[in-house]
């Protein structure tokens, strides 16, 4: 293929060589390696006159071979660069010269190379350096390769130095010299960076670094874009390794260059050029300028008084004046942000991260002025495009622009430590100024609000900025925002309001709540703002409930309208508003009777919403809509339930009896509200269209669970028999078993609940619950067969775990104990589904970890009996699983169970596991391995590395050699 006349075939030949080397290099005997290298070098020389991409591929293949065989054959090619030069000069491939020829002779060979010969030598130098530094070179191969690289540096330098040190003024034939110069610069760059990776402290690194001033000289060659750009690439790469590669002399030259009138004139041209139509080399210059700024940001911060440093700051700020939108029109302002971040950070903090500066420190007044100017310029860049412009942008431009805005917001936030109130004041003034023109400058308003939001969200306690917020709220902003044609202005205002919640909690801020909240409710009407608005409403209501207590009737009215007419509004927004109103009721309305009246109204509104669901559910074509509304009504009720949770530090004893009567006595106003809530849950749950519907069950159980963590009576604290009744109804209703999972979760929550723990007949109720679960869920689920439903099994195991924690005596005394624990929970340890096995292992671990000392003697005895009976069964199940039956993901689970067994019951566990292994007939070797395994595990008594030993045992029993992860 390499001999083909078709260049594409030749390329494919080189590629095939690479693939073959990658896959089968180990099959080549060591004595043939030199021959192979020679052959590849021969092809490289032969095809060197052809297309570049083929020569490049062959160079990479040659180097790949060198890398591969360095792993096994040691130093097979001690002087690769020297040999390539000799090969080119003599036109005969030479590999493995034993000695380095003297410098003078080598130099004269290099001088005899023609342009073509030099170019292919340089190509090989570059490829050599790049291939050695590749991330996928094996770690063990690197040291010899790096040594080879460092040792070959003097040969490479002999090749590149004459070109590299040619003064630009003495170049007489630029057309022939420039392409070679580009190749030399690329080789120099690749070789130097690789040497730094190999050993940054090697003497050759300093030697290579000393050539940087000569490289900088080539920036004079502005007429050749490729030379200029390559020089800039070298500069940028060197700056990344500044401490090793930019010497004091180079730094001086670079500082002079980037603070020179030359730099100023370049930047001036960029700023004067519209929309990225910069001359060719300007882009490259800007790249190096910005990289240099980042490199010296810390020095600049420390030496602002020095004119050259100050000039760089001023020029970087000047770059922000480039016209156009960031990303779409220009790609410069975004790239300066890293510099400004570093600059601010260096001003504010020392190397240990200790805060140095404060706004009041006069030493920093100069920096403050700089950052104020920078943020003012960035404010212009933050402005949103007109919709007619934005519509023409690509998605990438849009994403890039908004990412830029966020980066600016981060910079504003970090700069705020430095400039503080002064900036806030300016931004507030920007809002007011933008509103004072006709028509209102909405992009200006939005950009200012956006910047204010970046600061406001990090304000703490009662800062002076709150007074400035007052100025903003006293302006006509809130009254004109609803008229804004720029939707994002309203969105940003909603974010700012959410960030300013701490202000609205202050006495000064409270008086503005009646101004802000109607605006927020107004925004609810717009589907694209409803989510933002509802979030702010919820936060405002939960944080400023007291200030809003008088507005509840108004809120209820708006909420009723929203549910009746707001079909397009997102359900989440509707649910948040229900929660928000409930927050105000619970925290803001102290009078229990009044709170109950309002709560009753709120429940009535939701009842109407639920009725709509019931009405639609009767229409077979509208069942899906009905389900959405029903689910939303139940979710809203659950939100209300969560908001109605009691305050922790309430005086329990004094009010407990009052609350008990109010919420639970027949005919009491609170009890009537509770009954209405249950009616809604019942009306929806009992609809034939929703029988067994998992979404409805999830949301209905959400309402019933809302008060389970409560310890005082409240509107959502149900008696255990209410919840038990729901569980019984649902388990008994039509529906697939796999939709029972929410009901079982409710049962588990009920067992663990605070609110029912004081119920006098709780034990009786728990017995009933077990009965319902056993007869209603487990028996029909045929729980002991492999075909049972995993969700039901997992749910049941979770309930059993809860019983262990709270009502151990109930489960031990249950007539179904044997079925539930000794059969079901044991069987589930070897279930097919990983989640079920995990729950079963957790159950048994919990049981084994029960401390006998904290139990009554009778219960401790019962637990011991359970372990004695189940132990052999469980160890048998575990033995079978870790002998290869278990999937990989469960090996750790079984190891956990083994650990707990051997920690809590070492002797019996060892005996049970030994017996379990003996049941199966196996070879003598295998039996010995199993015996050793049990011995090892027993010695460890649950300590590390039990898990690793179990895993290794599983691998060995599988007959595998790997453990997948």
């Amino acid at each position: 293929m390499l001999s083909s006349a078709n260049p594409n075939v030749r390329f494919f030949g080189a590629l095939t060589y690479t693939v073959k080397l990658n896959s089968d290099w180990q099959s080549i005997p060591p004595e043939s390696v030199s021959q192979l290298l020679l052959q590849l070098l021969n092809w490289f020389l032969t095809l060197g006159h052809g297309p570049r991409y083929i020569t490049q591929k062959l160079a990479a293949t040659l180097l790949l071979a060198l890398i591969k065989f360095s792993e096994s054959s040691g130093s097979i090619w001690p002087y690769p660069i020297q040999d390539v030069v000799i090969s080119v000069v003599r036109n005969t491939p030479t590999v493995g010269t034993g000695e380095s020829i003297d410098d003078e002779a080598f130099q004269s060979m290099v001088q005899s190379l023609d342009a073509h010969g030099l170019s292919i030598v340089l190509l090989l130098c570059t490829t050599f350096a790049e291939e050695i530094s590749r991330a996928d070179v094996p770690r063990q191969s690197r040291p010899p390769l790096y040594k080879l690289l460092l040792d070959s540096t003097h040969h490479t330098l002999a090749v590149i130095k004459p070109i590299l040190t040619t003064p630009p003024s003495s170049i007489t034939s630029p057309d022939s010299f420039h392409p070679i110069l580009v190749s030399v610069l690329n080789s120099f760059r690749a070789w130097t960076i690789s040497c730094v990776s190999a050993d940054a402290n090697a003497p050759v690194v300093s030697t290579l670094a000393s050539f940087l001033p000569s490289v900088i000289e080539f920036l004079q060659i502005e007429s050749d874009k490729s030379v200029y750009e390559t020089v800039v690439d070298v500069l940028i790469d060197f700056m990344e390794w500044a401490d090793k590669l930019v010497t004091a002399e180079s730094m001086k030259i670079l500082l002079a260059l980037f603070s020179s009138p030359y730099a100023a004139s370049k930047i001036e041209k960029v700023v004067a050029t519209l929309e990225g139509n910069h001359e060719d080399i300007t882009e490259a210059f800007l790249n190096s300028f910005i990289s240099f700024g980042e490199l010296v940001a810390k020095d600049i911060a420390a030496n602002l008084g020095r004119p050259e440093y100050r000039r760089i700051v001023d020029l970087t700020a000047e770059l922000l004046r480039i016209p156009g939108f960031p990303i779409e029109d220009e790609n410069v302002s975004n790239r300066t942000l890293e510099f400004w971040d570093l600059f601010v950070e260096s001003i504010l903090y020392d190397d240990d991260g200790t805060l140095l500066a404060s706004a009041k420190d006069v030493r920093f007044s100069d920096t403050q002025s700089i950052m104020m100017q920078v943020i003012s310029l960035l404010w212009i860049k933050l402005r949103l495009p007109d919709s007619s412009i934005a519509v023409q942008w690509t998605q990438d431009s849009r994403d890039g622009f908004f990412a830029f805005r966020k980066d600016v917001a981060d910079l504003i936030e970090s700069s705020y430590q430095l400039v503080q109130t002064r900036l806030y004041s300016v931004l507030v003034q920007f809002v007011i100024d933008s509103m004072s023109v006709t028509p209102i400058d909405w992009p200006g308003v939005e950009a200012s609000l956006y910047a204010l939001n970046a600061i406001t969200q990090s304000l703490t306690s009662d800062p002076p900025e709150f007074e400035l917020l007052q100025t903003l709220l006293d302006s006509r902003l809130v009254s004109v925002l609803p008229t804004s044609p720029l939707l994002r202005a309203r969105q940003t205002s909603l974010s700012l309001i959410a960030s300013a919640i701490p202000y609205f909690q202050t006495d000064a801020g409270k008086k503005y709540i009646p101004t802000v909240v109607p605006y927020l409710f107004q925004c609810l009407a717009s589907p694209s703002l409803a989510l933002h608005a509802s979030r702010s409403i919820f936060q405002l209501c939960s944080e400023c409930a007291t200030a809003l207590r008088d507005d509840v009737p108004g809120f209820l009215s708006i909420y009723r309208d929203m549910l009746t007419h707001g079909g397009a509004i997102d359900a989440i927004a509707k649910e948040r508003i229900a929660g928000a109103i409930a927050e105000v009721l619970q925290q803001g309305v102290d009078d229990l009777a009044l709170r109950t009246v309002y709560l009753s109204d709120l429940v009535d509104v939701l009842s109407g919403y639920a009725e709509e669901a019931v009405r639609l559910a009767n229409d077979p074509t509208a069942v899906s809509d009905a389900r959405d509304i029903a689910a939303s009504a139940l979710k809203s009720l659950a939100m209300v339930g969560k908001a109605c949770r009691g305050v922790e530090d309430i005086d329990r004893i004094s009010i407990s009896s009052t609350l008990e009567h109010h919420w639970n006595a027949a005919g009491a106003s609170g009890r009537l509200v509770k009954d209405k809530i249950l009616e809604i849950v019942g009306a929806i749950s009992h609809l034939p269209a929703f029988a067994g519907d998992i979404t409805i069950r999830q949301n209905a159980t959400g309402v019933l669970k809302a008060g389970l963590s409560e310890s005082l009576p409240g509107p959502f604290t149900w008696t255990a028999d209410v919840i038990l009744g729901y569980i019984r109804d649902e388990i008994g209703s039509v529906g697939r078993l796999d939709t029972l999972q929410p009901v079982l979760t409710l049962a588990a929550s009920l067992v663990a609940s605070n609110s029912i723990s004081g119920t006098p007949d709780i034990h009786h109720l728990c017995v009933q619950l077990l009965e319902v679960l056993y007869t209603g869920a487990l028996v029909p689920n045929n729980a002991l067969t492999l075909n049972s439903d995993p969700d039901v099994n997992q749910g049941t195991l979770e309930i059993l775990s809860k019983f262990l924690q709270r009502y151990l005596d109930v489960i031990l005394a249950s007539p179904h104990f044997e079925s539930l624990v000794l059969q079901f929970a044991v069987a589930m340890v070897t279930a097919k589904e990983p989640l079920v096995v995990k729950s079963a292992v957790k159950f048994w671990n919990d049981l084994l970890n029960l401390s006998p000392d904290s139990q009554s003697p009778a219960i401790a005895h019962a637990i011991k009996q359970v372990i004695d009976i189940s132990g052999p069964l469980l160890m048998s199940a575990v033995a079978s699983s870790i002998s290869g039956a278990a999937p990989r993901s469960l090996v750790t689970e079984y190891a956990k169970l083994i650990k707990t067994f051997f920690r809590t019951n070492t002797g019996p566990a060892q005996q049970w596991l030994t017996v379990a292994f003996q049941i199966e007939n196996c070879t003598a070797d295998k039996a010995r391995a199993r015996h050793t395994f049990v011995e090892k595990i027993a010695r460890l008594r649950g300590r590390p590395p039990t898990e690793t030993i179990v895993k290794d045992f599983w691998i060995a029993e599988r007959g595998q050699t790997f453990d997948y992860v």
Binding site: T18, N22, A60, D136, V137, Q457, R888, R958, Q960, Y964
Partner: protein, 113 residues
């Protein structure tokens, strides 16, 4: 070096990786595939998930602040343990965590010949 060695295996411990391993494990157990094929599939998984996470996951901005408790750099892996972490997400949403662990690996150049 073959491409299979270029990618990290850390995603094998993710839920989707564990599920794949269990499925392959079952196929090996049932003698439907050879272990070598399973390893090949897992190598492909390593590459594909790495590419999918790079290219197909929409970037979401998030910032966080906390107290750096522990940091270490061992075998090219950075580990940070951060306490009292406040995450700030788009739209001002905030999440608080007592403790988080960040494990950061070097991004390697995948599969180039």
């Amino acid at each position: 070096m073959s491409a299979s060695n270029v990618y990290y295996e850390l995603y094998r411990r993710s839920s989707i990786g564990v599920a794949l391993i269990d499925s392959l494990d079952e196929l090996i157990k049932d003698s439907k595939i050879q272990p070598q094929l399973a390893m090949k599939i897992l190598s492909t998984f390593d590459r594909s998930i790495s590419e999918a996470l790079t290219e197909k996951v929409k970037s979401t901005r998030l910032s966080f602040k906390g107290h750096l408790d522990t940091y270490r750099f061992c075998d090219d892996v950075w580990t940070f343990i951060i306490l009292d972490v406040h995450f700030k997400m788009e739209g001002n949403e905030a999440i608080v965590a007592d403790k988080i662990k960040i494990v950061a690996n070097n991004v390697k150049k995948p599969g180039e010949q």
